[in-house]
């Protein structure tokens, strides 16, 4: 039996739950987390000296359980360590930012549990300084206990905006307003579906009570169309359900248009156990179902991998049924927060709208690239158009570029985000000094040719 450790990538609920189950089965586990603290986006631990952000009783219980589960000798937790991918010689590469070295290993299996990334629809001015993502702002609050100064506008769609606003109110710094593209109160029938999921509903009710008590304006069925820098701050153009425009001025804008799996650049899940290392995906990076489901899915994948590695049959558990329930809850939320007006297709945004922030590529650049007799495919759009070629490696733009390209050339096979991002190592930019340090390692294992 292969006694090499299992590598778990990501220190959120899915990764922690998977690590605990693998350890239960007697497996050695290396758990790597890129950030300096465990917890993932939802349970992000604060930096030393800062009190944890209150997250409610169910959340506290979950965190206590997850944290206790990894207090075991089989599990080695490595913070500030990134997973770079698997190289052409079959080595799994880790970027240890504490030692400043890239390390190689041959794990028995890899559990990818990298959670979700936020989606922010491109719009005029979304790349300006002072514009962040709502989730990024929330994680910063959890890590540092601080909320940035000034008037903060939360805009986009989804329950995260409500949660963030509620937390800001609780911290004594209510946002300037919430601008919600959907119209949640217009879907009372769909909303009833949430009654089957009392946990999240109660949490949402608590946030909303705080938001109403603090008289935070909650503009529903309204879209943030554009952001412009002015001397007085960021001038934001809002469009309501009747198409009427309004400008307001704030100091910061936090955008959020939902979340999707953080799956860019990582190796695909293995179809069978014969391929080594065996790669499995767990939690939101596999399917966005939320924090509670991530814990269930992580535990399920941990058990499954332990069984596969031991050659034992894979037990059927209640996890599948509970994941189905979580999927149903996500569907209800999607209906409740459905946009009141269809969003402007990306390819019809003003030409100068930035699509790829890293490389400064615009909607107009994409339109020009896709004009003419010959329709370039996904990889050609990346290489020739320089879309998704920058430091984020397409994590934030590949999705939109692919969508816009499909809209511009309905006659050609639609590109996928993976065509633009690829699945090559390094999945993130990596220090050249760290790679050189790896190369000069005296205890480097012998490599097969």
């Amino acid at each position: 039996m292969n006694r090499a450790p299992v590598l778990v990538v990501g220190g959120g609920p899915a990764g922690l739950a998977a690590a605990a189950r693998l350890a239960d089965a007697g497996r050695a586990v290396d758990l790597v987390e890129l950030r300096p603290a465990l917890g993932g986006a939802y349970h992000r631990r604060p930096i030393p000296g800062v009190a944890p952000w209150p997250i409610g009783r169910a959340g506290e219980a979950r965190w206590t359980r997850l944290a206790a589960g990894i207090e075991r000798p089989e599990i080695r937790v490595r913070l500030r360590t990134g997973f770079l991918g698997v190289d052409g010689a079959g080595f799994t590469l880790l970027d240890d930012r504490t030692t400043g070295r890239v390390e190689t290993m041959r794990p028995a299996a890899i559990v990818i549990a990298t959670g979700a990334v936020e989606m922010v629809r491109p719009r005029s001015g979304w790349e300006l300084p002072g514009v962040t993502t709502a989730g990024g702002l929330q994680v910063m609050m959890k890590e540092t206990g601080r909320i940035p100064e000034g008037r903060i506008l939360l805009a986009g769609s989804g329950p995260l905006l409500v949660a963030l606003a509620g937390q800001m109110v609780a911290a004594g710094r209510p946002p300037a307003a919430i601008v919600e593209t959907g119209d949640p109160f217009a879907h009372p029938i769909a909303g009833l579906g949430l009654l089957a999921h009392p946990g999240p509903l109660l949490e949402a009710a608590g946030h909303m009570a705080r938001i109403f008590a603090a008289r935070v304006p909650w503009r529903r069925a309204t879209t943030l169309e554009a952001i412009e820098p002015t001397d007085a701050g960021l001038a934001v153009t809002l469009v309501d359900r009747r198409g009427a425009r309004e400008r307001i001025v704030v100091d910061r804008v936090a955008l959020h248009d939902g979340i999707r799996s953080n799956d860019h650049g990582f190796p695909e899940a293995s179809p069978t156990a014969s391929a080594l290392p065996f790669v499995a995906w767990a939690g939101d990076c596999r399917e966005v179902l939320g924090v509670a489901a991530a814990e269930i899915d992580g535990a399920r994948i941990g058990e499954e991998i332990a069984a596969r590695l031991a050659g034992a049959p894979i037990a059927t558990t209640s996890a599948i049924r509970r994941l189905a329930a979580a999927r149903q809850a996500q569907d209800v939320l999607a209906r409740v927060f459905a946009p009141a007006r269809p969003p402007t297709p990306i390819e019809r945004l003003p030409r100068e709208t930035i699509l790829c922030r890293c490389e400064g590529r615009t909607v107009g650049d994409l339109v020009d690239l896709l004009e003419g007799a010959d329709a370039p495919g996904g990889r050609e759009i990346k290489l020739s158009g320089r879309f998704s070629m920058g430091a984020c490696q397409g994590r934030f733009c590949a999705h939109w570029v692919a969508e816009a390209a499909a809209g511009l050339r309905p006659d050609a096979p639609p590109p996928t985000p993976h065509d633009l991002t690829g699945r090559r190592w390094p999945s993130r930019p990596v220090s050249i000094a760290a790679l050189v340090a790896s190369n000069s390692s005296p205890d480097e294992p012998t490599r097969p040719t």
């Binding site: 190289d87 003419g372 010959d374 430091a391 490696q393 930019p429 220090s431 790679l435 190369n439 490599r447």
Partner: protein, 389 residues
């Protein structure tokens, strides 16, 4: 054959060679079917270092071809076809240690004898000329009149300029010939394509179509791209090539060559990034980079340009160049197969030679006099009298 404009021509492969051939035919008013199994520049063209250079060459047929290749890049740039896609710059061959310095001296003489403009820079001049270079560097020769072009970028520009249409995802199965040996066309996974002339520019895939066995070999190259660093970029006056690269290419005799074929070229790109390569690995069949090779190349690169250690690696990639066992490409008319042309096996010279060879083959198809002597590259040396049907 019919008059050129009536010819039905099919080109197999939308790498730089196939696309260049289609471009020059289109310019002459001759339309073609451009068939591609994957996508334009999907193989070696898309993973090349982009050198439009003779710096590492010895006098001979390949150098003459490369000089014609560079001249054509200048011409296309002047015509606006490449519109900024060709960057004119020198290559600096840099020696570290007495052995490399000696190799460099001999190489400089050889280049100069072939009419290449070469300037010798003593060690004392390097700090001013190329402040980013390591103080270990012991002299350099500057090869002038060269340039850099990114393969996929050239391909895209040529497709646009000639309004070519690439038929993507078409797998060509075999050539079809009549019983008397006349060309009928090609069988593909989408059916038969009739043609009066066929150009096979399909890299490693050409072997099967031509019935070549043991002639073409994949030679893997691994490369990497850094993040942007404009200040460091500006502190290098051109591409930096380690004199050791000459050893790796075995173009200087008597030197040991590592199985990885490590060489070092550091190219400062217009974006402020650096393109760094690479390897020349025999018979590696998977175009995937590995950390051992990339780490090795980076260690050499940092020794040459210490400032690179402060940057991040953005991308590492590998490509399979198609090499011919005798080191020269296969270019020209296939013997015995009327109307069948071959252009493959360029190994690391495809970007430099692609356009000029495309023009030369287009000229042959159009019945125009040859501007370049293709006899050293005659496919007949491996294909005497036979083409797979």
């Amino acid at each position: 054959m019919a008059s050129p404009s009536k010819l039905r021509i099919a080109i197999v492969g939308a790498g730089i060679v196939g696309v260049s051939t289609a471009f020059f035919l289109a310019r002459a008013g001759v339309g073609v079917r451009l068939l591609e199994a994957h996508a334009p520049a999907a193989a070696a063209t898309g993973a090349a270092d982009g050198a439009v250079s003779v710096a590492s060459k010895r006098p001979g047929a390949m150098m003459n071809a490369a000089l014609a290749g560079i001249a054509l890049y200048r011409e296309l740039a002047a015509q606006g076809v490449l519109d900024g896609g060709f960057v004119s710059r020198s290559t600096f061959l840099v020696a570290v240690g007495a052995a490399e310095a000696a190799v460099l001296d001999g190489h400089a003489e050889a280049l100069a004898s072939a009419g290449v403009e070469v300037v010798r820079h003593p060690t004392s001049a390097l700090a001013r000329l190329a402040p980013a270079l390591s103080p270990e560097a012991e002299g350099a020769i500057e090869v002038r009149g060269e340039g850099h072009a990114i393969g996929y970028d050239v391909v895209r520009r040529l497709i646009r300029a000639a309004e070519l249409t690439v038929e993507r995802g078409v797998t060509v199965r075999n050539l079809v010939q009549s019983s008397d040996g006349g060309l009928v066309g090609l069988d593909t996974d989408r059916g038969r394509i009739e043609a009066d002339a066929v150009v096979i520019a399909a890299g490693g895939g050409s072997a099967e179509l031509l019935g070549l066995d043991g002639v073409l070999r994949p030679r893997r190259g691994q490369l990497l791209v850094t993040e942007r660093a404009p200040a460091l970029n500006a502190a290098l006056p051109g591409a930096i090539m380690s004199a050791r690269y000459l050893l790796s290419k075995a173009s200087a005799k008597g030197a040991p060559v590592s199985p990885r074929g490590y060489g070092l070229v550091i190219d400062p790109l217009r974006t402020g990034q650096f393109l760094v390569g690479g390897t020349r690995e025999n018979d590696a069949t998977r175009p995937i980079a590995d950390v051992e090779a990339i780490g090795h190349v980076l260690a050499d690169a940092v020794a040459m340009v210490p400032g690179l250690a402060k940057l991040r690696l953005l991308r590492a990639f590998a490509g399979l160049r198609t090499a011919v066992v005798d080191g020269l490409p296969l270019i020209g008319r296939a013997p015995g197969g009327d109307g069948v042309f071959v252009a493959t096996g360029f190994e690391g010279d495809g970007i430099c030679l692609g356009p000029v060879m495309g023009r030369t083959i287009a000229d042959a198809l159009l019945g125009r006099p040859a501007t370049l002597d293709l006899s050293p590259f005659d496919p007949g040396r491996f294909l005497a009298g036979r083409v797979a049907a």
